[in-house]
Symmetry: C2
Subunit: 366 residues, 2 copies
């Protein structure tokens, strides 16, 4: 194989597929990027067997062929090359030479035939969402995807379509839940899939903020395929039935407050100064007489703060892990947020009137 | 004590003195910042017994007094407070209350009397250098100060004045030496002091890029005191006699090359891809026929690169640890650098014609 490409194009393509390189693996071929110029275009592919990413790069194919190159070495090398034309050439022994200006570099590489192509995914039902919207709904929900949970389902996020065009995304761990709903432009058949959290985190790094162009998503029983720009992402889905989040949500409440989001976020952030690994204390909110009192005491010291709120219903005193509140308040864009409380042991609900977003945060008994 | 100050002034002052807070200590008082409003101005001081920093902050003294507050907690807290007025008040039990907008915070604090003031340093002979120049000479030499050397002198940097106005700064470790010379505006008595590398690294973070204002330095037998803006820095000096660097420098050479600094730096940077902890290889430079050939081979792969140079004298083949070359080439501002070689085992000298800077890099036998 011999190809000629531009350094910046090459670097961009490598950084896209690099997201599917595993952090550690016992199979050296999984640490490689396949560069394939066999079929009239130059593609780069990485595949960790759970997530695979393929992207097309512009460039000239002098001699068709393919080769697998150690991904992190290739990324570092191309970044360090001058902004110029790069020639990549392989010989019959699957060794690779990269030439750029005055530099000739032999890079570690393997036979391309050893590399697993992305699985074939039937492209039957396409769900289209703009880059921007997909990136936003991931940002607004991915923080509550469970990490290292023994229940595999909690490590993924539910993507659900119902009532033709209602699209709902749900993530939850043992302490909280995030629900984000949007209305799609077109109608679709009902579907439910659980996408691994890792997949969502990686793809949100490679999709743009573009509001005009769509990411096309195709769901099958075991896989989701996403297409955007010159890139194709294929991820395994998580098998099983996602928790019924509707059961957790109650329309009933005894206390409602409207509060400036930024002020509450900053007060919660200050309260974390009094929480240590060895001394976990709740921050206690006392809602009374149009005021929310925020109080925390620990061996480090104490903080006491009053914020005025719009209040409806009963007085309440409730404790939280401030970090959980902060994660939620950070992803909301509204200037004012509404908090709904039932009592001191039921989860607090943070949502807007349209219920575009619903967040549940479990309190701490104190 | 009761003082009122502005959040940004407070934050700025804390971040200056924070540079003298030790990373670990068994003496809790050393982790504190002393806030002293006893003498008609508000000063903040931190002192790790080797390096001490004091700075004056503007603000209103309602009741004079002093208090020692845990430094990192205070820095985090003030950063998280709204941009507004802050009131700091202590009671008779040395507990401290910080009030800002709606927030009242009790912070961990200790009796100010436990705190060690900065040592008194006689201000006899003042050496004045602009902020910018001092920052630059530290940047251009501090990288070769020895770290964890058993010979304590190597962990410091020589500051020397001779011939009235010749100021020379020298640092060296086992593999290289950096020498930087400037001519001072005024005349001074001869002096030699060894300043700890840690002191130089910390003060270069708090001095500005200002070319108009001077840092005033006062040297005594055991200490250096530096004054700039509202800040005073006192550091212990390292005792002993610094190596005579003149002995190491030879005017004699057999090969001289002039080369584009950026091209050489980038080639050296690429060559590091082939150096691993477990497999340290030299990069080999072959200088011949107006060309410098840069070659490295390791288990990872190999690189071969040719750069054209202006050359004088004999051909030479010499090996280096590319990281040492990179550190040196990075701090030089000239577009073209001159490299002088004696043979394959003597250090290579990199200097300009005026010898404002002289760097020695020891080769690797290959």
């Amino acid at each position: 194989m011999k190809i000629i490409c531009n350094k910046n194009d090459f670097s961009k393509a490598i950084n896209i597929v690099l997201k599917a390189i595993p952090t550690n693996t016992t199979m050296p071929i999984l640490n490689c990027i396949l560069i394939d110029a066999s079929f009239g275009e130059i593609t780069l592919t990485a595949n960790n067997m759970e997530l695979g990413i393929k992207t097309v790069m512009s460039g000239e194919i002098v001699t068709p062929g393919k080769i697998a190159i150690e991904a992190k070495f290739l990324a570092d090398l191309v970044r360090k090359l001058p902004e110029n034309e790069i020639t990549l050439e392989t010989d019959d022994n699957f060794s690779t030479k990269i030439t750029s200006e005055n530099s000739v570099i032999d890079v570690p590489s393997k036979e391309g035939a050893d590399f697993s192509y992305l699985p074939d995914v039937e492209k039957d039902n396409c769900v289209a969402i703009s880059h921007f919207t997909l990136k936003e709904i991931i940002r607004q929900t991915a923080f509550s995807i469970g990490i290292n949970e023994s229940n595999k389902i909690l490590t993924g996020e539910l993507f659900e379509i119902s009532d033709n065009n209602k699209f709902k995304v749900v993530s939850l761990d043992r302490f909280r839940a995030s629900i984000r709903k949007i209305t799609l432009a077109d109608d679709y058949a009902p579907m439910k899939s659980i996408i691994p959290g890792k997949t969502l985190n990686e793809i949100s790094k490679i999709i743009s903020d573009d509001t005009d162009n769509d990411v096309k998503m195709y769901f099958t029983r075991n896989h989701v395929l996403m297409e955007f720009d010159e890139t194709t992402v294929v991820s395994r889905l998580i098998e099983g039935e996602f928790m019924d989040v509707n059961q957790m949500i109650s329309k009933m409440y005894n206390t409602k407050v409207n509060i400036n989001r930024k002020e509450l976020l900053e007060a919660m952030d200050r309260s974390t100064l009094f929480v240590k690994e060895s001394d976990i204390r709740p921050v206690i909110l006392t809602i009374k007489d149009g005021t929310i009192n925020i109080n925390i005491e620990s061996t480090t010291g104490k903080m006491n703060e009053n914020l005025s709120v719009e209040m409806e219903g009963q007085d309440i005193k409730i404790g939280f892990n401030p970090k959980l509140m902060i994660d939620t308040l950070r992803v909301i864009d509204d200037e004012t947020v509404s908090l709904y409380f039932i009592n001191a042991i039921a989860p607090c609900t943070i949502k807007n009137d349209n219920e575009d977003y619903i967040y549940l945060v479990t309190p701490i008994n104190f």
